[in-house]
């Protein structure tokens, strides 16, 4: 192929990872053609404010467009999904029938909300998932009308943040989760119990250990009530289905890659693996969709669906895309996330998966201001802060270095450290295994 016909680099996915990947390519000197394909019609926007300030009505749904930090000189294909990948022909199929050639490819298609399992029930008026800007706009419009009762199914980050917004708006809300506390999968029930307390103080009707069997509509197709396992019902005109996310890999069916709902498997340098396990030299992945062996966790394959990973992995993949084959750098990332809910700032670093012990090392659960560290087999593997974020970087360093548990014993204001059982629920049946989704996926 002559250089003038080089189709250049194509990025599939126009959210945070796609944008930051494109910027990193330009920043590191890539001067060739660059195209960005995005399924949504919107230019890249920031998602974390959607389940907080957009639902609360403090920000318009369109206000969170992301700053473009480096001139891109890119061709944008927005509002059109990639529907197939033909590796031998080095082309993408697009949803509008077009075929887009690529020289190198960065896959950053992210994830989508896990839908309610019954499609007819999911289609009822008043049943929502919350992932994109349009979801948030639609849900915000309904919340602004003052629904009688909102049911939130799933006590992960999104479910808890939505519950917090509803209470701020004075809306009656019930939150159901099969586990004993919210955030049980990511933080365990010992720390999750603090979130239970936040829900109760805010007036959320929290129902732990509850399974929703069926969403029932009226004759006009509007949500009426939810039927719980055991026969009880909850009357609700709005349901927010917050059951986590599935990785957007369906469009790669038949492409001969290692891809499923848990992610697209990469090598340590963010190169996508073919079905036979060999890395594709010209296809990289980054962000929520990418599942890679993380050196911080013994090379275990993990996918991290959080903001910081999207930024960092996209930058890393872009640098490797421009580097020689013998100069591919491994991607080591300590996962991190934040959430604000019920007036409390929650920040976490590391993966709690497999933790066998947890200790409050600063503050106390009773005051709802504390820092907890998680240990596994004597090593510090993760930490979470509730309104104590200033301590977190020091613990992040200890975790990154694989220090013993607990890592810091003689800090100022520190009381005697007592250890506890973190209380992680048993793995879900019929769901992606925790090893695929990462321990902080909720």
């Amino acid at each position: 192929m002559s250089p003038s016909l080089d189709p250049g680099i194509v990025i599939v996915g126009a959210s945070l990872a796609g944008l930051r990947g494109a910027e990193a390519l330009r920043l590191h000197g890539y001067a060739g053609p660059l195209a960005i394909v995005g399924e949504e019609p919107h230019p890249p926007y920031d998602r974390p404010p959607l389940s907080k300030h957009v639902l609360a009505g403090e920000l318009a749904p369109g206000a969170t467009a992301l700053p473009n930090l480096v001139p891109l000189r890119a061709t944008w294909h927005l509002g059109v999904a990639a529907t197939g990948l033909d590796r031998p022909a080095r082309t993408l199929r697009l949803g509008d029938g077009r075929v887009l050639p690529y020289g190198r490819l960065l896959i950053a298609t992210g994830a989508q909300a896990r839908p309610w399992p019954g499609s007819e029930e999911a289609a009822l008026d008043g049943v929502f998932t919350l992932r994109g800007r349009d979801d948030a706009a639609a849900l915000r419009a309904v919340l602004a009308q003052g629904p009688r009762h909102v049911l939130i199914v799933g006590g992960g980050l999104i479910g808890c943040e939505a519950a917090s917004c509803c209470r701020d708006l004075g809306i009656d809300v019930t939150l159901v989760d099969p586990n004993p506390t919210p955030l049980a999968r990511s933080l365990g029930t010992f720390v999750g119990g603090v979130v239970s307390g936040l829900l109760e103080r805010a007036g959320v009707d929290f129902r732990p250990g509850v399974h929703v069997e069926l969403l029932e509509g009226d004759t006009f197709g509007r949500l009426r009530r939810a039927h719980l396992r055991g026969g009880e019902t909850i009357e609700a005109d709005v349901a927010i289905v917050a059951l986590g996310a599935v990785r957007s890999t369906g469009w790669l069916a038949g492409a001969g890659l290692m891809a499923d709902a848990g992610g697209l498997t990469c090598d340590g340098a963010c190169r996508v693996l073919a079905a036979d396990g060999t890395p594709c030299q010209d296809i990289y992945a980054a962000g929520d969709v990418a599942r890679w062996p993380n050196p911080h966790y013994g090379g275990r394959l993990i996918a991290v669906e959080h903001w910081g990973n999207a930024v960092e992995q996209a930058g890393h993949a872009a640098r490797n895309m421009l580097a020689a084959r013998e100069d591919q750098q491994p991607y080591a990332h300590l996962p991190a996330f934040w959430s604000s809910q019920f007036g409390v700032n929650i920040k976490a670093v590391g993966l709690t998966e497999g933790a066998d012990t947890v200790a409050i090392v600063q503050g106390s659960r009773a005051t709802r201001r504390f820092l907890a560290v998680y240990g596994r087999a004597g090593r510090s593997i993760a930490a979470v802060s509730f309104d104590e974020g200033r301590w977190l970087p020091a613990y992040a360093e200890q975790i990154r270095a694989g220090r013993p548990f607990p890592p810091i014993r003689d800090a100022t204001d520190q009381t005697r450290i007592a250890t506890h059982v973190p209380g992680f629920p048993a793995p879900r049946r019929g769901r992606a295994a925790p090893a695929e989704t990462g321990g902080i996926h909720v």
Binding site: A63, P67, W307, G308, Q329, N345, D387, R400
Partner: protein, 75 residues
């Protein structure tokens, strides 16, 4: 103009809230609520907020991204 804050990095020092009080607000102990789309006329204030952040957590379109340590990046 467009603004985004890396809230993993933010430590709640609130220097941005002094530099551009209409566009950065600290709630509770350490929740930063910021305006992701301030008017262009406020570019000067936003630039001061970007520069004032001790952990360099604020990025804004058209303002030079400050040097920041690559915390957590692979070597």
């Amino acid at each position: 103009m467009r603004v985004v804050v890396d809230l993993n990095r933010c430590q709640g020092y609130a220097q941005c809230c002094y530099a551009a009080p209409e566009h950065f607000v600290l709630r509770g102990h350490e929740i930063l609520f910021y305006d992701p789309a301030p008017p262009d006329a406020k570019r000067g204030e936003i630039a001061r907020a970007v520069q004032a952040c001790p952990v360099r957590a604020i990025s804004a379109e058209g303002l030079d991204a400050p040097e920041r340590p690559e915390a957590g990046a692979a070597s």
